[in-house]
Amino acid sequence: MTATKGSDNRVVLPRWRAWRDSRNSGELEPLRSQPERSRSLLSDSTSEAEISQRLADFKAWNGTYEAADVVNAAIVLGLEDYPGVHEAAKTLRGSSLPAVSELAERILSHDSSKSDDILHELESRANLDAVQSRDEDGTRVAWLRSIVQSEPRNSLRWADLALAHTVLGNKRPAARAIRVAVSLADGNRFILRAAARFHVHEGDFDAAHSILTANMDNLVADPWLMAAEIAIADMSGQRIRYTSHGRQLLAGDFPPRHISELASALATLELKAGRIKRARKLFEQALEDPTENSLAQAEWSMERGINVLPPTHLHAPQDFEAETRHSLRLEKFRDAAIQARLWQEDQPFALEPATHASYIASTLAEDYKLAIIACEKGLIANPGDPILLNNLAFSQANAGLIEAAKRNIGSIVMADDAKKLLIRTATSGLIAFRQNDPHLGRELYQESIIGWTRQENGNVGAAMAAIFWAREEIRARSQHVIPALKLVDSLCDKIPPGSDVDILRHRLIDDSEHQI
């Protein structure tokens, strides 16, 4: 058959990134302002008195350490441009004190960016043309382990270690690391959401729920935690208990970014309940200052015909999933495939970006190399996943890697999921065609198509299988082209225009006109 992206029942699950890659979301920011008392401590005239005193000492002695004292004070007090500070900073250029020389250079270059941001670039991974090797991921694990060994109370790095293990599919070490992170978290929102996401990845919705509800005071006061709780309950089919608390939080005096995902989560509930007007209103609230997750949710709702996005294209940092969905809507499949790979790099442990990237790349963009990479990457964290193995085999067969395709399609283990079985059967048909056994291929495709027609809502699967069967008949220049195309026509009768199946059907018609 074809690759598949699986179910697309999207909820606003918390994203899970290395903590330093999470700063753009607003998730690490405080919800409320402290009393102004603490701020004024650093902005009153005493700060100027402190820097003046040091400048006087520097002028009196003109020594390295007096200059260092000025530079340090200027940075701590936020007075980098105070008269005389640059003069002191210049004294430290080329001194034998590298740490303070670096600070002086920062003042002189007016560099407001932090070394932090530079490191951030090093930590992010966006090499789309290669699967991150296990060695590299293993190196990251070793690096993080060395950090938590020397800084055992560093909860953020314990969470990062859990993520690194999860990316590698190391379930037990990941579970241990996330447990330590939570025990040190002291209610830290980022860690609680990361832990909840970990448990969702593991399929343990109860554990995810427990993490978020362990401190009810925190939960009902924090829209980020509430958004995660509602999304996870929605995904797992549990009763949504805190909708009213969520609505109260939306009515609170929070900056729009803080309530964006909560509004999206509630909008999704309304959408599923068919209350479109309410959903649209909540999405509008979510999009006032959206996270990329909320943007993706809005794009997802657009796919369902709910027009919630404004005419101007909204952006948010790391909005790869939203861009994927947006490009798909515009039928820019190459862009969509690349964005989906970026989404996968951003969430390398997650199944959804892997399945989407491999599906879009192989089926719509016909970039089989990219699809193979997406599958291989996804299979590291999700070993044995039948959808990814199918998509890998499909892509490999199309890329001429028949033996690898046979190996992967043969390694799929599935219990009694009829639809996945039908997908595998169709892909086996493709492999048979590509190894010059059209008779077997034809049989397998037909078996899959018949199977789909017996499934509830199986028309899309049946049409898809028929399209790819017809494609293979055209490619084989066989006498079965016409019956296959007729079958496609009949199965596509009720397929909505603009859908993936419709697009593939038109491609097929084009191909057939060229080849016949």
Partner: protein, 358 residues
């Protein structure tokens, strides 16, 4: 509001040059006022000499300065309280023979005629050669020995204060003073108790969230969190400042400037509007990265040991600050004994083969 005294009236505190104080101290010269200072800055400084050859620094209380401030009664109250508090604190230090705290040699009152307010109260301290910044500039050849011995002395001075239930609150390079005796031998002491807190006696500055210099203040204070108990609020503050001083003496940077540079701008104390416990994970992570930078920056044989000391002294969480071994057995969790011993050991190692005694 205008001050009570016209500026043209003579200021007794500035007219002591040439006079002889009780105890035979001759006032030699008026020292220039330093712009800004922690505290009310209600004092003028003189170099003084004793007939027996000793030299001293005289800190004279400047009532006129207090009277020229807005809200005169409050300023006068503050000046007087600061003076009395510091004088009594030094007397307490003398009684307990705190060898690593700058000695107050004398105190008293003198009278300058023809001034609206002629009384001048003063304290005479040992005269320091310079502070540790200057020592590091001019005596760089001593390198680790000078630094470690000075730090040992500061740690010992803090320990002496803490044993008397006094917290210094303003440990910084300019308050670490290098002295020379008549034989030319160097020593270093901790000076300026102007911002100290005595657990047994309240002071006006006790209410300040940051009693001393912001540059060396512990992060919880910079973020506006003020622990209530004496230990985490005062003793842990001193310990952090000792770590900040250590960082400065080995890298030229302070822990707070390194933190400021390493933290994401939104997590800096200049921007953060949440609580300290909320920002603590980010501070802790930055702290971990800074320690690696410090280790690399020191780059000498003592780098590992010094970095480890800084790790314990500058621990971001005040209740965990100091040496874990001090927290075992229900003793004082902020005891400095191990810190003093480690600095002493490191100083001895660094100076082996050298006769230099700092």
């Amino acid at each position: 509001m205008e001050g009570a005294l016209p500026q043209t009236w003579p200021n007794a505190a500035e007219l002591l040059t040439g006079s002889t104080l009780d105890g035979g101290w001759k006032v030699v010269e008026l020292l220039p006022r330093r712009p800004g200072a922690t505290g009310g800055n209600f004092s003028v400084g003189y170099r003084v000499e004793h007939p027996d050859g000793r030299q001293g620094f005289c800190k004279a209380l400047d009532y006129a300065s207090a009277l020229s401030r807005p809200n005169t009664p409050e300023a006068l109250h503050l000046a007087t309280e600061e003076y009395i508090f510091e004088r009594d604190l030094h007397r307490k230090c003398e009684e307990r023979r705190m060898s690593r705290i700058l000695t107050a040699l004398d105190d008293g009152q003198t009278f300058v005629p023809n001034c609206p307010i002629g009384q001048v109260d003063y304290i005479i301290f040992e005269l320091a050669q310079y502070d540790v910044r200057r020592a590091l500039d001019v005596e760089a050849d001593l390198e680790a020995t000078l630094r470690l011995r000075a730090l040992h002395n500061v740690a010992a001075g803090l320990r002496q204060l803490h044993q008397a239930h006094i917290a210094h609150q303003d440990v910084k390079p300019s308050n670490v003073l290098i002295l020379r005796n008549g034989l030319g031998e160097r020593s270093s002491k901790l000076g300026d108790l102007g911002r100290a807190t005595d657990a047994g006696r309240p002071a006006l500055h006790d209410v300040y969230a940051i009693a001393g210099d912001r540059q060396y203040a512990p992060p919880e204070q910079l973020y506006g969190a003020v622990p209530v108990e004496f230990g985490p609020r005062r003793l842990a503050c001193d310990i952090y400042q000792l770590g900040g001083l250590t960082t400065f003496m080995f890298t030229g940077a302070t822990m707070n400037s390194l933190l400021s540079a390493e933290l994401h701008p939104s997590h800096s104390w200049l921007a953060w509007s949440g609580t300290y416990s909320e920002v603590l994970p980010y501070v802790r992570d930055a702290f971990g990265r800074i320690l690696e930078k410090i280790r690399a920056s020191i780059g000498s044989a003592v780098a590992g040991d010094v970095t480890d000391l800084i790790r314990h002294l500058c621990e971001p969480e005040p209740t965990c600050r100091g040496y874990a071994v001090s927290k075992i057995g229900g003793g004082n969790p902020y005891a400095l004994q191990k810190v003093v011993s480690r600095f002493d050991l490191l100083a001895r190692r660094a100076s082996k083969g050298s006769l230099v005694s700092v």
